[in-house]
């Protein structure tokens, strides 16, 4: 028989953050790294690194998507990749003075939906170089790309044209 006193969980110095005793409220930490695949959207993100804005076009019905998708929403056909123009106009906008926790440090930032000639749908991006609250629907804007790509949709952003 082993010495009973020696059978025990070792004590550690790690404590628990307690906010309140009754009800007992503690801090519970949670964090995760995903192994995220861009899968069929990959050419869009690769395009950003090459300074290109890639959309998709349905060869069957001709519908052109400024935000790409591998299959057409209207006829179900497989789409093909097309390069979008680097200039467009602001379809709508907002300036965010607050945001999700991840983006709070970046506030205020201006979001726009961009219209492109020849495309049936829009593209969500950030507008830089315009005072908060001062964007306008119909404004001409042009795409700029980060030199050091992060393979995120924010690798492209827009400035007044």
């Amino acid at each position: 028989m082993a010495d009973e006193k020696k059978i025990k969980v070792p004590e550690t110095q790690e404590g628990t953050v307690v906010y309140n005793l009754d009800p007992l409220i503690i801090k519970y930490h949670y964090e995760i790294d995903y192994i995220h695949s861009y899968a069929q959207d990959t050419p869009f993100f690769a395009g950003l690194a090459a300074g290109k804005l890639m959309g998709s076009r349905c060869p069957k019905c001709g519908y052109t998507y400024a935000t790409p998708r591998a299959h057409c929403m209207h006829c179900g056909g497989k789409t093909e990749w097309v390069e979008l123009p680097k200039e467009g106009t602001v379809h709508t906008w907002t300036t965010c003075y607050f945001g999700s926790e991840a983006f709070l440090p970046e506030t205020p930032f201006t979001l726009i939906m961009v219209e492109f000639k020849g495309a049936n749908t829009l593209f969500l991006s950030r507008l830089i170089g315009v005072e908060p609250g001062k964007a306008k629907i119909g404004m001409k804007v042009k795409a700029k790309f980060l030199r050091n790509s992060k393979f995120s949709p924010t690798d492209v952003y827009f400035v007044p044209a």
Binding site: D41, R69, H91, T92, C96, F98, A102, M113, T121, L122
Partner: protein, 417 residues
Amino acid sequence: MRDVYVVSGGITKFSKASPDKDFRYMVKEAFDYAMNDVPKLTLDDIDGSVASYFSDHFTRQLMAGIMVQDYLGLCPKPSRRIESGGATGGMCFQSAWEAIASGRMDVCVAFGFETMSRVNTWKGNEFIALASDTNFDYPVGGFYTGYYAMMVQRHMHEFGTTVEQMAAVSVKNHGNALNNPYSQYPAKLTIKDVRNSEMVADPLTRLDVCVMSDGAAAVILASEEMAKKLTNKPVKVIGVGTGTDAMRLADRPHGDVILLPHEKKSDYKNLKYPGVHSFRGGRTAAKQAYEMAGIKDPRKEIDFVELHDAFTSSEIQTYEDIGLCKYGEGGKYVESGAADLDGAVPVNPTGGLLACGHPVGATGLMQAVFALWQLQGTIKKHFGNDKLQVKNAKRGLIHSHAGTGTYITVSVLERGF
């Protein structure tokens, strides 16, 4: 398909944080309230349930639905979980309706909850924003108030809607809630108060946006036979409809308006629809529900509406989707007082999400509970005062809405006695 009735409901008082009760306890409280209102109903009579909660992130618990099921003493009966973002509650209600209508169940409980206080407000906004395309939308600055702000900017551009008209929604709904003891944020406000509160995302201020909440709600639905046995004040579900739209705002088409029975094509000559200014899913849901209920003109055939006003702008957009006025006239509609408690069709007479709070999974069921009490004429019994009782309410509409209009439900309820 069989007729379906709502026989009882209960909700907890919505609050910023209820750390003294977890999700099970909160649902139990709402469920017991509903059970007490129909004393003839026993646990044995209940055939099953549908659970409504939006986010596993907020609960920090997967499969929370079954934990509620066992807490309520309903195991081993059937149950399932419904999740459809902000419309989860409305969808749960319709799922329970389906269980009865199909003949699978005679009595079904729809219960829902959300415990949003378990993370800080900005983390909560992050969780909610994860309900947008995580490849293309979320990383650009995922923030739902921002998405709705862009939608209403376009609404203002197309139709001339003003920020004062949006503020009028906030004033109305917060004001109505002064007499609703379940509401989280009753307040007597002015248009100026709304415009002077902090800007969140142009043009939406803090008082244009609902708050995060802890809360639960439960609704009991039954077949005609069981309903008549359980209560002398049953409320009949006479129409249900559900619509959807693309998750990405960018993908919304610019086509023709879907017309309601009282509209004609010439009403909308140059309007590209829905674009980002209107909710095609809401219109689709309303159209189906009206067809099923035999409603030809909602302006004349509905006595009150409880709709999903997570933002003042979406209340204005929804007036139009459900045909209380034409597209483009929503701003003027609220300005005219038509949506007031004593207006043509009171909208959110109990305060809506803006003032009651928005514990996501409970919200759509809260609307069903309030609509039930309105149609039963029992607001006084449940609120302790009858100031919000819509006089002679015979027919009410409830409307639940998810992420920029991706899932929308409309259900029409009618006094059944």
